[in-house]
Amino acid sequence: MVKYERARLDASFAALGDATRRGVLEQLGRSDASITDLAEKFHMTLAGMMKHVGVLERAGLATTEKVGRVRTCKLGRRRLEEETAWLERYRQLWDARFDELDQVVEELKRKEKADGRKKRE
């Protein structure tokens, strides 16, 4: 299970490691688009864009659907949320640590104050 999640994240980050693909995701964040639209927007061949979309699709970051002759791309919303989810989990870990560190800092401050009253350094 963990292995599976890791493989999925690896694929996602690999997909996000390319400026064009990030641009495509940004674009899809604004609205769905056909491969043809995307190829035009990013000044690419249809085949080139299909390759990029394929990478995004395999990483679960985008989905495509063929209606008639047009293949429409959408954001794979759930997966994008998962990307930010691990950063958020990481933040929560540090936040929880730092909340407890606050307590330690407060205690040391009080102690220093009390000690300072006894003997000034």
């Binding site: 936040d95 929880a96 040391l108």
Partner: protein
Amino acid sequence: MDARRESEPTSTKNRTTVERTSERELVVTRTFNGPARIVFEAWTKPELFKRWWVPKSMGMSLLSCEMDVRVGGRYSLVFGDDATKPAEFFGRYIEVTPHSRLVWTNDESDDGAVTTVTFEEKGGKTLLVLHELYPSKEALDAAGTGAADAMSETFQQLDELLVSLGASSGRS
């Protein structure tokens, strides 16, 4: 006994931010309401460090914590509880500048980061910046899931709870 509450912390909680600043770097920042020498002390004395490094919400315990805080000195943190096998995290301090800078290696795996923590005091408060530099993009990607794994016991339970709550209230 004492009616004045002068040492009461100002009620607003300081924000913790995490940012992936490059393919190989993560930066965590947080301000503490105390001078740098105190915050630094809490990072360098094992008896203080172990009081906060493993928050209760992590659902794990620190079996041992040894820190020889000087250049070249080793540290070792051993985690474990009934549910998981003990895991040791260890490395060496490669820079120690009292009250302002700590740098250590994470040697438990080849993919371990170099961690730099800086303490910057301003007006009695300390801005802490923790910077992790991983050997490769892949190492950081894996660490991201690793961090999630570290809390997975708790989070999995929480996730399951949320899913069941969501299911019962019609949300997915």
